[in-house]
Symmetry: D2
Subunit: 240 residues, 4 copies
Amino acid sequence: MPQKTCRVELVASTPDPMAVIYAAFRQCYHAGFVGDMHTKLVDGEIPAEKQAAFIRKVMESGHASPIEHVSFTFAIEGVSRALTHQLVRHRIASYSQQSQRYVDGSNFDYILPPAFAKISEAKARFEKFLDEVGDAYQELKKILEDNGRGEKAKEDARFVLPQATESKIVVTMNCRSLINFFEHRCCTRAQWEIREMANQMLEICRKELPCVFEDAGARCEKLKYCPEGEKFTCGRYPLP
Amino acid sequence: MPQKTCRVELVASTPDPMAVIYAAFRQCYHAGFVGDMHTKLVDGEIPAEKQAAFIRKVMESGHASPIEHVSFTFAIEGVSRALTHQLVRHRIASYSQQSQRYVDGSNFDYILPPAFAKISEAKARFEKFLDEVGDAYQELKKILEDNGRGEKAKEDARFVLPQATESKIVVTMNCRSLINFFEHRCCTRAQWEIREMANQMLEICRKELPCVFEDAGARCEKLKYCPEGEKFTCGRYPLP
Amino acid sequence: MPQKTCRVELVASTPDPMAVIYAAFRQCYHAGFVGDMHTKLVDGEIPAEKQAAFIRKVMESGHASPIEHVSFTFAIEGVSRALTHQLVRHRIASYSQQSQRYVDGSNFDYILPPAFAKISEAKARFEKFLDEVGDAYQELKKILEDNGRGEKAKEDARFVLPQATESKIVVTMNCRSLINFFEHRCCTRAQWEIREMANQMLEICRKELPCVFEDAGARCEKLKYCPEGEKFTCGRYPLP
Amino acid sequence: MPQKTCRVELVASTPDPMAVIYAAFRQCYHAGFVGDMHTKLVDGEIPAEKQAAFIRKVMESGHASPIEHVSFTFAIEGVSRALTHQLVRHRIASYSQQSQRYVDGSNFDYILPPAFAKISEAKARFEKFLDEVGDAYQELKKILEDNGRGEKAKEDARFVLPQATESKIVVTMNCRSLINFFEHRCCTRAQWEIREMANQMLEICRKELPCVFEDAGARCEKLKYCPEGEKFTCGRYPLP
């Protein structure tokens, strides 16, 4: 039962994303056909700087739909089921998640909360507990198999697996959905683990497509105030 | 830590659902305005039988969008986090779920898989394990509180809570999304727990709006063959 | 070919909407089951004032998902195809629209832009044009019918129908989607016709569910500045 | 006012689409991390034939969510507003459409229905009508400008533009949404124009990703019967 930490790999993204977004924005206001313009954009006839400046300007006015044409696909491992249950609540996205019904959990990996890592007493108690989980899973699986549940034994044995259990998931989101995701999950109010993952995703997006993601992040970054209210604010920005 | 079983309560649904669907279907092909027709529908000027027959007929041809105008809102308790993680994967829906970050888990309720219930050895092992979870949660929460984590102690302690932990959730889906939900989750290939919940929801829907839901259920019910393939079929219907 | 003006009829909405939203919000943070609480809410054990205050407070912090459980269904007539083409771009919604393929357009109704109504020369030119459309539609339909197109004659003849042609549509949106709709379509930058329709819808929503919709409208109303940029701002609020 | 015909250009699509889908499918049932596997897939360590066979098999069982990770972006011109109004009803998609509010329509292009093209009398009547539209647009625009409507003159003048008016649009859909789109729009019951466009899109998709799209098309192609009912069936397949 080794401990795992979050790792985010970019496995695919729309090629020439800036040209795609620029072309889509332009199509709205332009008499010509961007199917013809597109090659010129990729070939650099319209300088990248000009494309980026145009995209920034239109996005500032809040007209974000053309950035939906560009998607990012991430493979993510080293995250807990507590995290993935929050993640899949984002509905404008596609997910393929490792199934606990089909993948054996006898030697499950786990996520160690930083608060446990810092307090040796907590870490020891947590690890003792994880050993007990491993025993319970294996014993229950064996009892079920001995009683003829066969392949279904894993489906029921997993009822003992904790929220800390590591999961793996493939996620695709378009840029607009990603910006919304970052607004909620890069906020210090978000759970520490999903915030860490969101920050890794944001770093990748910023590198791949700075004109869209350079200002992305928690809502306060753009608003310059905290919308979370007196009770929940982290204090980084003032209340409105 | 009492055991809980699935309970589904209908807390809201679109009033006069048949009239709404009939009016929406009619608007597509009708020169008049259904804003005027609607009152007549509810008052019964067009007999319910005629409305139902019309809806059945158009649905059979696969043109399902007008049934989207009608939604059902269910409050659900007595389901595991294993179930809710599957449930929220259905994206054309709205969810409000009890948060383990904010609600104390010291005396969490749990779901007992029927396979455990039937085998006394499995049940005993499972319940012994649940006692250990309760101890681990409370001890970890206390250690964290003693070390100044305050309100955040629950957020981390919940990493020990098992998939079996009971959750509560409010779910709204429109009829078209519900039919898709039933196709996947009433199938015997679905996990036993979500199938049981889906069947309870389907029973309610059938009672409220028979002309839409009388044939709903696993895909095989309509296809009259099993699309799940040789490896997974339950045998109730032949393979194609 | 009579002129028509926009009429919005509320044909259905979720009953006891405030209780549904309050219960959904509460379920997130509450140990109990709102399936039980719901009856009390409707019966008034928790005063409406308290429910409304709670909903306002949580919405202010930007956590809007529970308002999705409540939907409104409008039947709308007296709007142009120019309007409906914009309307159906809102994707978190359900639509049933009168089909020009199936409904005869020989005596189509039309929408008169206010700018035409104010200038008698424009009005006269527009109405002369509409007579020509009617002639073209009927002549083309007859030619096609004479040449054996039968039922399909309408499908092709409608190619002459102008954007001004009146349409009828049934629309269902949940509260969250409605708020987004109002942000974009109540803005003075929106086309005059869809703004007028959006304002009618907003008036209905405000009457039905004030605690959710009292501050709804163009984005500037909440931001207290105009996000549309120097070129497009109407000047009602200052630029940021 | 030249006549235009439908042209579909693929401007972007997810690179190595088969590897992305294979990896996503595998992640569901596999203990390892597909973030590592992905490079091997692209490098050909797992033969393309094997990947394709696996994808075909899982899709046959109806489990289609992993194909959502792959998207196609098309730039489309030479289609009527009648077509685009139908197209944008597909909600799991992203659109950027040429705006009639901002792009001058004085010399609008148009789509000629094949039924008009075949009948010289219809063609002549249609073209005479289009000349009248051009006159009406330009005269109304001028009257409005003379009366101080400025930039807004186009917004109102377009009320005369017919459904036949050519439009341009950029569309992104993922594979799952595309398959649903083809089911509805490659059917002979669909309007001739959108069917022609759908067939062009399908041809591109089949070339790019045969294992996903080789069986795509109207629903009858898979069902081997026609689900459209007695009144609407084209007769290519028998009724059920």
